[in-house]
């Protein structure tokens, strides 16, 4: 089916806009990505706690990991609300944030800060 050229060009621009916005120019990442990131930092905290317990990493280094996790936590807690559409989404988001907070506290207890 033939379309007028102007319509095709408009579609092209629309597609390009979707691509750019989807590419992460400004809008927060989708919920599943944010949940993955939170889980990743939670696991990082648990690994750091375990490695510190085994004497493998210094307090200096563990503290830096804690700080980076804290930044990820702060960022997610401001943006994840916008990405959560339904009640169950919000529940997942709250649980993920909660796990990370707990993991950060446990690492802090381990390194005594």
């Amino acid at each position: 089916m033939l379309q007028p050229a102007s319509t095709r060009i408009t579609h092209l621009y629309l597609a390009l806009t979707v691509l750019l916005v989807g590419g992460g120019c400004g809008s927060p990442p989708p919920l599943d990505k944010q949940l993955e990131t939170l889980a990743s930092w939670t696991a990082t905290m648990q690994l750091a706690k375990e490695r510190h317990g085994a004497g493998a990493i210094t307090i200096t280094y563990a503290t830096q990991l804690r700080d980076r996790a804290d930044e990820a936590f702060q960022q997610a807690s401001t943006t994840i609300g916008q990405s959560a559409q339904t009640h169950s989404d919000s529940a997942y988001a709250a649980a993920a944030l909660d796990s990370l907070r707990t993991a950060i506290r446990q690492l802090e207890a381990e390194i005594g800060s």
Binding site: L19, A39, W41, A48, R51, A54, A56, I57
Partner: protein
């Protein structure tokens, strides 16, 4: 006997030259997100780099001319601007990332924020370039860079599943996150095949006064050196695949990568990681700013040599001095080194056609190479690399948008 010393040295140099901020970051990300699956990309990248290095080294040893010199003379100034600008832009991005890598290493060791380390790193680097000679830059970083072998030790201690790793040496399609997979593949190729590596290597052949006698040394250096260097990058991927992937840890920040060695090797692992990141990134910083100054000086016909005192090649010496200090600024104002690294590796991949395709013309020029022109297997390999580079150019931007997050 002297020949073997040179061979050994050359091999060591390419190990030190291969593993740096780009390979460490992209291999760790690849291993964390896709296990062993991206190992084939490292094999492809390593083979391509070895072939390009062998050719630029052979070209320099036989013709006594550097690649940048010939790019200007044989293709004219108009064409030369293309590789000049492309290599300059991507190399500047890469060297900023390398200074970021050095700064992160110092931050992990001391706890002092990375941005404070950028300017001191540039000043120490500049001092070494200003006072030191080519041998110091090349061999110093190469010898110290041997600490990178700790990645191989770490990988072995984690007991990789060899058949699975072996299968990953052949290309396969991802079961999830296709855009991210190909994005990481392009980043890994950009980290492996950097134009600065073969421009530096080609200028180095002239600095080290290579002649036709060195063709054997050249072949072994390019081949064996890259096998070892690529092997260490695969070891990095394996450690990430065995430490980070099972725990579903993605590498969002550089600091997380140190865990890949601190897990199998304990406290020593953390220390080796810091040393490896510091030394290889510092060495790469020196090599990249030199490669950029070589390109400029050889292309425009200035006096150049890292073995001359700066007043004998003032424009060359000023170029590397300005470049290294300039490259420290983005890190000093706090740009995230990992984001920068990822962008620079994709940009590098996209820049390859302008330095790979002209090589095909030069490597078949009997006036330059006499009987040492490319045979058909070399030409075939170069055509494949050139096609690959065109695919990378086309794919880089869309993948940065779709898989960069």
């Amino acid at each position: 006997m002297k020949k073997w010393a040179e061979v050994a040295l050359g091999v060591v140099t390419s190990i030190g030259g291969f593993l740096e901020v780009g390979s460490i970051a992209t291999s760790a990300q690849g291993g964390a997100e896709f296990g062993y699956q991206l190992a084939w990309v490292l094999v492809l990248g390593t083979m391509s780099l070895a072939i390009l290095m062998e050719m630029t080294g052979r070209l320099a040893a036989v013709s006594q001319r550097t690649y940048a010199d010939l790019l200007r003379e044989r293709f004219g100034y108009r064409f030369f601007l293309l590789p000049l600008v492309a290599v300059f832009v991507v190399s500047l991005l890469v060297v900023i990332s390398e200074i970021g890598g050095v700064s992160i290493a110092l931050q992990i060791a001391t706890g002092i924020d990375f941005r404070w380390w950028a300017i001191p790193t540039a000043i120490v680097g500049w001092f070494l370039l200003w006072r030191g000679n080519f041998t110091i830059v090349e061999q110093g970083t190469a010898m110290l860079g041997l600490v990178a072998i700790s990645f191989a030790v770490g990988a072995l201690k984690l007991h990789p599943v060899w058949p699975t790793l072996g299968r990953a040496m052949l290309p396969s399609l991802p079961s999830h996150d296709r855009a991210r997979y190909w994005y990481l593949a392009v980043s890994i190729l950009g980290a492996s095949i950097s134009p600065y590596l073969y421009l530096f290597y080609s200028a180095g052949a002239i600095e080290d006064e290579w002649t036709i006698e060195h063709l054997g040394v050249n072949r072994v250096t390019a081949g064996m050196g890259n096998v070892f260097g690529g092997g260490l990058a695969i070891a990095t991927l394996v450690t990430a695949a065995l430490v980070l992937a099972p725990r579903e840890i993605k590498v969002d920040r550089y600091e997380q990568i140190a865990l890949v060695l601190a897990t199998p090797l304990g406290r020593a692992g953390l220390v080796f990681f810091i040393m490896t990141l510091f030394i290889t990134c510092f060495g790469a910083t020196l090599e990249i700013v030199l490669a950029m100054a070589y390109l400029l000086a050889q292309g425009l016909g200035w006096n150049w040599s890292e073995n001359l005192k700066p007043d004998k090649d003032a424009r060359f010496a000023t170029s590397y001095s300005v470049l290294i200090l300039l490259a420290a600024l983005p890190i000093a104002i706090g740009m995230d080194p990992l984001t920068l690294t990822n962008i620079s590796m994709v940009a590098t991949a996209a820049s390859l056609p302008v330095t790979v395709i002209p090589l095909f013309v030069l490597m078949n020029d009997g006036d330059l190479l006499n009987t040492h022109v490319n045979g058909w297997p070399s030409n075939l390999a170069l055509v494949v690399i050139a096609l690959l580079s065109i695919v990378l150019l086309v794919a880089a931007l869309p993948l940065q948008l779709l898989g960069g997050g």
